[in-house]
């Protein structure tokens, strides 16, 4: 039996990607020349009979805070396009090529400039000989003779998660995308529905100034705006192991595009309506000292609420 994601999951994922990759585009940080260290637990180099099955996993050792690979963050997997005529709403190039399953499509390839690996002499290593695990911040290769010593990468400063329970495992700033409820009603004679989902974005910042920046950025990113509803025919951008979907089978980035085809069952885009924003002031908690209270995860909170509206054909 074939199984396809329901519309609500596609909407949730589309909004998640829009918030993380478009609205919070300015909140991308650079970590330079970070040492890469072989992780013996994750590596397998013992199969001399068939060396092609061997795999070497290098982890980036950084003391940057917040941790670039904490929940909801990770390394940046798309190149942004600057200095072109692209709409600021779509800062990623869309090119022709194929999906990982060989179907021709238009989409966005894996990044080429956001993660750079260097050898011990700081010469750039070609990205054809390694894969990037964007979730856990690792470089994966099957070449035991490859010298990979440092990595420079861009990472998402704001953690974007879709479950409340995950907030604690990420350090602030965190944004939680929370779809609360759904209403469906007719909007015309015949087929088609108007689907309205109540969505809250909960902001957990590390200071009052950061809260202001995030609140305003998110509000402006939603007010009078819309985002595409992607179809995700092969799933999300990244595979289960954090690598770009399809990269394991073929290093040619034009044959493993992230499919940017919009869902055909809705008219136009997902629209953001009735956008409101407010700070969330909570009563004081007890502590031994003031510093503990100010560093509490709930100390600088805010909330952006909106209706996610779509009109379906069927």
């Amino acid at each position: 039996m074939s199984y396809e994601m329901r519309s609500i999951r596609k909407e949730d994922l589309s909004v998640y990607h829009y918030i993380k990759e478009v609205v919070l585009l300015d909140f991308i940080e650079l970590d330079e020349y970070v040492p890469l260290v072989l992780d013996p637990k994750l590596s397998s180099t013992t199969n001399d009979a068939d060396p092609s099955t061997n795999i070497l996993v290098y982890a980036a050792e950084t003391d940057t805070l917040p941790n670039p690979i904490s929940r909801g963050r990770g390394w940046v997997y798309f190149d942004t396009v600057s200095g072109t005529t692209l709409s600021p709403c779509e800062p990623y190039a869309v090119v022709s090529g194929t999906r990982a399953d060989g179907v021709a499509t238009t989409g966005t390839p894996e990044q080429s400039t956001m993660v750079t690996v260097f050898d011990a002499n700081l010469s750039v290593v070609s990205d054809l000989v390694y894969m990037v695990d964007y979730v856990d911040g690792r470089i994966v290769t099957d070449d035991p003779n490859l010298d990979i010593s440092y990595v420079t990468y861009n990472w998402y400063y704001v953690s974007v998660v879709d479950e409340w329970a995950l907030i604690q495992s990420a350090e602030p700033p965190v944004v939680v995308v929370d779809i609360q409820s759904t209403y469906k009603e007719g909007y015309q004679l015949g087929a088609g529905k108007k689907v309205t989902r109540k969505v809250d974005l909960h902001i957990f910042a590390s200071s009052a100034a950061e809260r202001k920046d995030l609140l305003d950025t998110l509000f402006d990113g939603l007010y009078l705006k819309s985002c595409p509803l992607y179809d995700f025919p092969l799933g999300d951008v990244l595979d289960y192991d954090g690598t770009f979907y399809g990269r394991k089978d073929n290093p040619n980035k034009l044959t493993s595009l992230f499919d940017r085809t919009s869902n055909k069952n809705i008219i136009g885009n997902l629209q953001f309506e009735n956008v409101t924003a407010r700070n969330v002031g909570l009563p004081p908690i007890l502590s031994r000292n003031r510093e503990e209270v100010m560093s509490d995860l709930n100390a600088y909170r805010a909330k952006v609420s909106f209706d996610l509206v779509s009109y379906t054909y069927s």
């Binding site: 409340w164 329970a165 907030i167 604690q168 965190v174 929370d178 609360q180 409820s181 809250d200 909960h202 957990f204 407010r278 969330v280 909570l282 009563p283 004081p284 908690i285 007890l286 502590s287 031994r288 000292n289 503990e292 509490d296 995860l297 709930n298 909170r301």
Partner: protein
Amino acid sequence: MNPLAYGERFLRLLKRKLIQTFEEDVVPEVKKAVMDNYDSLLMNKVPEGSLGRPEDFRDLFVERLDEYPFVKTDNLIVKLSVPDNDTFDFGEGLSFLKHVMEGMAGFYYLIPIETYRLLGYTPPSLRETLYLVREDDPLMDDVRNILGETFLTPYAFSNSPPMDVFEDVRKQASQRVADAVKKAVSLAKNDFRRLY
């Protein structure tokens, strides 16, 4: 009589009828919707005998809801105000509920004000009986020394998303307002005919 004076009288009559209809028809329904949400979202979630049971705050919550100024007037304007987490009075005894309704990320313990005093600290407010302390706060070491691990009460709504009892109440109220206005206009017209 000057026709404008009739108009003025009608508007004043309409204002009175709007206030009356809102108070008699809409406000009770709004209160009922809030309390239905309270009961379904918060009741029977915490074991009997534990600290921080929403059941223990229900009466005070109802009292505050009754005190809430649902109908506000400004000259000839009548406004129906529906409470939310910002406008409802959570002060003096209900701040615990505010944490529940806004949700709390992370894990917390509940500490009675008497325990906090026993530790030699001054509480931020004397009006609250219960406070939250983060599980990894150094204060918890002092609390453990006094209470012992067995008597610590974990906050039952730790790491829980908001349980907002005002959610959707505004929408329900706005659906009732149109009918209430029609009724108020009709009552005002009848009275106006009768009086003038």
